[in-house]
């Protein structure tokens, strides 16, 4: 038990930046995918066929692609296309690739959540809004979205929980985050099982409140329409 504790304290120079970088990845990719996903959802409900087609094909392709494949493509194929990812947020290019891949992947799911949330609002609402002369933007922004919100937030929080878990994949692609700590500690001759268990505990600590929050929201907003 003592050595289990020591694995954490002796390697805190790896654990702290690793865990922090997981949290940074999560926050950046969460904001990115919310913006991109909402934009895609707006495209999918817009009156312009070209935008609808683009949104639909984006979602269908990305949803059926493994996230690992997105990572492999960005890490190994883009250099061959002479596309370089700059270092951002004071981290190297791999970090940029990691949050780009997570954003590209997660935004497809955000888009679907937002779109199906919009679909839960009864058509009478937008019809009434149009009858008093509101424009498409006003109908969406003032009438539909505020009502769709409570249908969106619970599933959206599950998408975000999945995103948090998916950040571990970045550890396999040269980003020092929580899943990559194991490799670094094994190179030092440290205990791998202890490291993996600490990583597990870290995720349970992060995810448990998120899940509890999500359940609470679901119960609170489970109002029949």
């Amino acid at each position: 038990m003592l050595s289990f504790w020591e694995t954490l304290t002796k390697n805190s120079d790896l654990f702290i930046p690793g865990f922090l970088s997981t949290i940074y990845l999560f926050i950046i990719a969460a904001i990115g995918s919310l913006v991109l996903g909402t934009a895609l959802a707006a495209m999918r409900v817009s009156p312009v066929p070209a935008m609808r087609a683009f949104g639909a094909s984006y979602v269908n392709v990305i949803r059926n692609t493994p996230l690992t494949l997105v990572f492999v493509f960005l890490v190994f194929a883009t250099p061959k296309l002479d596309v370089a990812f700059p270092s951002t947020f004071g981290q190297n290019g791999f970090f940029t690739i990691a949050y780009s891949a997570l954003t590209i992947y997660t935004s497809a799911f955000v888009c679907e959540v937002v779109r199906s949330g919009v679909n839960t609002v009864s058509p009478g609402q937008s019809e009434a809004a149009r009858a008093i002369g509101m424009t498409f933007g006003q109908v969406l922004g003032l009438i539909v979205m505020p009502q769709a919100f409570r249908a969106i937030v619970p599933p959206l929080s599950s998408v975000m929980i999945a995103l948090l878990k998916n950040t571990t994949i970045a550890g396999g692609f040269s980003v020092l985050e929580s899943a990559a700590i194991r490799q670094n500690i094994s190179e030092r001759g440290g205990d791998q099982i202890h490291t993996i268990l600490w990583t597990l505990i870290f995720f349970l600590i992060l995810i448990t409140p998120l899940v509890a929050l999500q359940r609470a929201m679901e119960r609170r907003w489970a109002v029949s329409r």
Binding site: A50, N64, L67, T68, L81, D82, V121, R130, A179, I196
Partner: protein
């Protein structure tokens, strides 16, 4: 689309929409043009980069990779269904000493990142001196995670069958096992099927995580083929091929799930049966069930 967010456009709106449409189409074309231009400039369309696919040995390599992916998928799917069935039964049990551990297991494995689970089996077993093969590390990880999600789908499906069904079954003197197997399960399976198939898509996609723990599945093999110097390091062509295979397989399964869902809803509408619809979140496997279709059935 069930919500009509805009009126049938009049002449001015039509003109405006057409202008936006042209601009959007131009932007999309420009994007595609940029990608093709990048491909062309870096010589991705040169013969040498695609020449490998003509060799029988390379085709066999890819095929073996695909088979390894399908093997992990098949084993993972069967074991996850079993695991899910067992733990769903546990969670539905009347006895606390079955219910409590099942609850903990299902909640725990849904919260742990799948990759960390695979690390635990793969590297952990090596440290203990057993050395589980990479295939089984992948399969065990897939089983525990997807099995837990499936357990939730099964439970939600059973719970969503109208209460009157089980009450009536108890009233005519059936035992709990009989109520479950003769009355609830046959009705629940119909509504669960689309969600189960959707979860299989997730499982299939997650086999690609084997890449990280060096399981020689399709992605791993593709990366090896793409690294060959003699063929100009054709990473891009090979990954395009691999991506197409993945997308085709997953799209086929997704389409099957949609088809099942549609069939279920239409079949129920014809017979006027209320349908219980279960929505699973494709990423997290959060399951929500609710009776719908009554309105649709009228």
């Amino acid at each position: 689309m069930s919500v009509v967010l805009y009126d049938i456009p009049g002449p001015r709106a039509r003109l405006r929409n057409r202008a936006i449409g042209v601009a959007a189409a131009l932007a999309i074309v420009a994007l595609i043009w940029y990608v093709i231009d990048r491909f062309y400039d870096t010589g991705q369309f040169e013969y040498i980069k695609w020449a490998q696919f003509e060799f029988r040995s390379v085709q066999l390599e890819l095929l073996n990779g695909l088979l390894a992916t399908l093997k992990a998928f098949g084993l993972g799917a069967v074991l996850a269904l079993l695991f899910g069935a067992i733990f769903a039964t546990g969670r539905l049990s009347d006895h606390l000493y079955f219910r409590a551990p099942s609850n903990i297991v299902v909640e725990l494995f849904r919260a742990i990142p799948l990759l960390i689970l695979m690390f635990l089996f793969y590297y952990g077993s090596r440290q203990l001196g057993y050395g589980i093969p990479a295939l089984w590390a992948v399969v065990l990880g897939l089983t525990l995670y997807n099995g837990s999600v499936l357990a939730e789908i099964f439970r939600a499906g059973i719970l969503a069958v109208a209460r009157g069904q089980s009450e009536a079954a108890y009233a005519i003197g059936l035992r709990k096992t009989q109520v479950m197997t003769l009355v609830l399960l046959p009705q629940a399976v119909r509504s669960m099927l689309p969600s189960i198939v959707s979860q299989m898509v997730v499982l299939l996609k997650d086999t690609a995580l084997g890449f990280i723990i060096t399981y020689p599945e399709l992605l791993y093999v593709g990366r090896q083929i793409g690294n060959r110097l003699a063929f100009g390091v054709p990473q891009v062509p090979v990954l395009l091929v691999v991506a197409t295979v993945y997308i085709a397989m997953c799209a086929l399964l997704s389409w099957f799930a949609h088809w099942l869902e549609r069939r279920m809803r239409e079949g129920a509408r014809k017979k006027g049966i209320p349908v219980v619809e279960i929505a699973t979140d494709e990423v997290t496997g959060v399951v929500q069930a609710g009776p719908t279709g009554i309105a649709a059935a009228k």
